[in-house]
């Protein structure tokens, strides 16, 4: 069953999604050859992207990094927007595409499914200056071999109305039963938000022995559900799309809660209310996306050129600013329109990035090596229904 766009459109549209689903499934790695050298461009490039990753000016005349690419390389780009990670995987299986901007969960499925090839980073000159904390991670490499070029990442920060809320240092600000902001707290409307609660419990209830917020056994999931049921009494409204979240903060229906940096920026740009963001001491959940090349790519040279193009300092800066996430390219920071952009998004802040638990699809096979005792996403979905009541 292909997943559905609307339900998780927030993942979809912002290209977030769920990471490293099959990490525990130790399937054998298919032997896919790596490209040795770069040839001439083939004139065409077919890619699968998250909305906003391959803008060609059709939505906004000023936002265009596809046509300049075509001009520079002669590769005409056909970008297909996918709604979900599942859609990306099934599209890649058709073999008609050269590459994909995959999120954490899709990446390992694609690697082990043999749909993508290892990336020869030597053929991507811009790779050298990509943030080192994004290289060789479990969602984009196997045994030290990179399977993609990191694109950008972001955290699900704690946003708060700076005029009415004192800077919170802990997620307890949104989870405490006796919150002074009862009725004006918000939370992300998706089963994946259970991970935020689990992350909080990881710090506050060591007895539960949670080591990874995406690997919860039945007891741990139940504890997270209890916490979220308590939280629900204080929630004014859940949010699942960008526009709704901004409106809610601006009308003061919401004073604090889980959010994205780009949302806070938009609110502050409207100058109605001032919203600040923070990553509390417990850390935060987040996302990280990677460009991967198909093992059956018909236009591999164009795809390599694209991977280099999209991570070049100017373009990576443009994409990151349009999309509202941290660029992977360290040199992008001097090319952003907003000079403080990289500081705002902590783009080169390794310590900050370390505090993020990137979205991962929970499976029965625990990511922390406890075996098959964990709860899967279907169980999380049913739990989320019971939380909302």
């Amino acid at each position: 069953m292909r997943t559905k766009k609307i339900v998780i459109a927030s993942f979809a549209a912002l290209g977030l999604a769920i990471a490293s689903a099959t990490a525990g499934v130790a399937a054998s790695l298919p032997n896919v050859p790596m490209q040795k050298s770069l040839g001439k461009g083939e004139g065409t490039l077919n890619i699968i992207v998250w909305a906003g990753y391959a803008e060609n000016g059709s939505n906004d005349k000023t936002v265009d990094w596809v046509n300049p690419f075509t001009k520079a390389t002669g590769c005409k780009v056909n970008a297909k927007t996918a709604g979900t990670s599942d859609e990306m995987v099934s599209l890649m299986k058709t073999g008609g595409y050269d590459g994909v901007s995959a999120s954490g969960d899709a990446t390992l499925r694609l690697i082990y499914g043999g749909q993508v090839a290892p990336v020869n980073t030597a053929l991507v000159p811009n790779y050298k200056t990509i943030s080192s904390f994004l290289k060789g991670q479990q969602w984009n490499s196997v045994n030290g071999q990179m399977y993609g070029i990191p694109h950008g990442w972001g955290a699900n920060v704690l946003a708060y109305n700076a005029a009415k809320v004192k800077k919170p240092t802990s997620w307890s600000a949104v989870f405490a039963a006796n919150s002074p902001y009862k009725g004006q707290i918000t939370a992300y409307d998706s089963p994946i938000y259970i991970a935020d609660a689990a992350m909080y419990l990881m710090a506050t209830q060591p007895k539960l022995k949670i080591t990874n917020p995406y690997s919860l056994d039945k007891t741990q999931l139940a504890a997270a559900v209890t916490l979220l049921k308590v939280q629900k009494k204080n929630i004014g409204e859940y949010w699942s799309d960008y526009t709704k979240s901004v409106q809610s903060f601006e009308s003061s229906n919401t004073l604090l809660g889980s959010s994205w940096q780009v949302i806070a920026n938009t609110i502050n740009g409207d100058k109605k209310v001032t919203v600040a963001t923070t990553v509390p001491k417990e850390g935060a959940t987040g996302w990280s996306d990677t460009w991967m090349i198909s093992s059956k790519a018909q236009h591999p040279n164009c795809m390599y050129q694209w991977m280099n193009w999209i991570t070049s300092p100017t373009v990576n800066a443009q994409v990151a600013e349009y999309f509202g996430e941290a660029p992977s390219q360290t040199l992008a920071c001097s090319h952003t329109v907003d000079k403080s952009f990289c500081t705002t998004y902590h783009a080169t802040d390794a310590a900050y990035a370390k505090k993020i638990w990137y979205w991962t699809t929970p499976t029965t096979n625990c990511l922390d090596g406890r075996g098959n005792i964990c709860t899967d996403y279907a169980a999380w979905t049913q739990a989320w229904t019971s939380i909302k009541g």
Binding site: I6, A12, A13, Y242, K271, K272
Partner: protein, 271 residues
Amino acid sequence: MYLSRRAKLLLASLTFGTLGFIYVPLLVVALNSFNPSRTFSWPPQSLSTVWWGRLTESNGVLPAIATSIKVGLGATAIALVLGTCIAFAVSRYSFYGKNTLSLLVIFPIALPGIITGIALNTTFHTFLDPLNKELALWTVVVGHATFCIVVVYNNVLARLRRMGQSLEEASQDLGANIFQTFRFVTFPLVRSALVAGGLLAFALSFDEIVVTTFTAGPGTETLPQWIFNNLFRPNQAPIVNVVATLLIVLFIFPVWLSQRFSQDGSAGGRL
């Protein structure tokens, strides 16, 4: 006078109240199209035509409207054929399962869109996956046509029941064959019902998003989907208010015209 003055006044005030209920939110939409905020948060701080200007720069909306029109025309065409066939069969013939069929035709619109959507999605994948084919534009047309049939059916059936069969019988008695009778007698009589039904079918299809979501291929984007995506995409959500305002203004006249056209002493179209 068959209604008292008081009753008329009461009805008039209730009608104006309801029209107010219908149009206040539309005024909010129109006003929000001049709201410079990037998420059209209420109340507007100031008024600006910035989003109207941005619409002319955004050439993403035109392909989306074109897709919606294609889908709407395709679905309406199929619905016109199938709906008319059923209406003729139900009104002119008796056959086994007639009652069941007249109930079945209601199903696709009476059952929630999400159910129709999931069911069709599963079927499409069952047949397309082995062929290595993806959902596409035609799958949306099929989905929309399924729930549009009933609208055409209702309009044509009501017309056929009212006009009876005597004119057709007269035509055949005078020597016209079945095709001539249809072309010169029946069709002109049901034409306005087809227009009314077709317009409503098109309207249903034009604003449909749930069935669309489940039946659209990755490259297909209808206007409602474009609007949906824009509410999620940073920077240009308010354009959707401009589009909606334009659609209202653009459609007032054709809708009124079609209403006048189908005003032949009967109702102005049935759902």
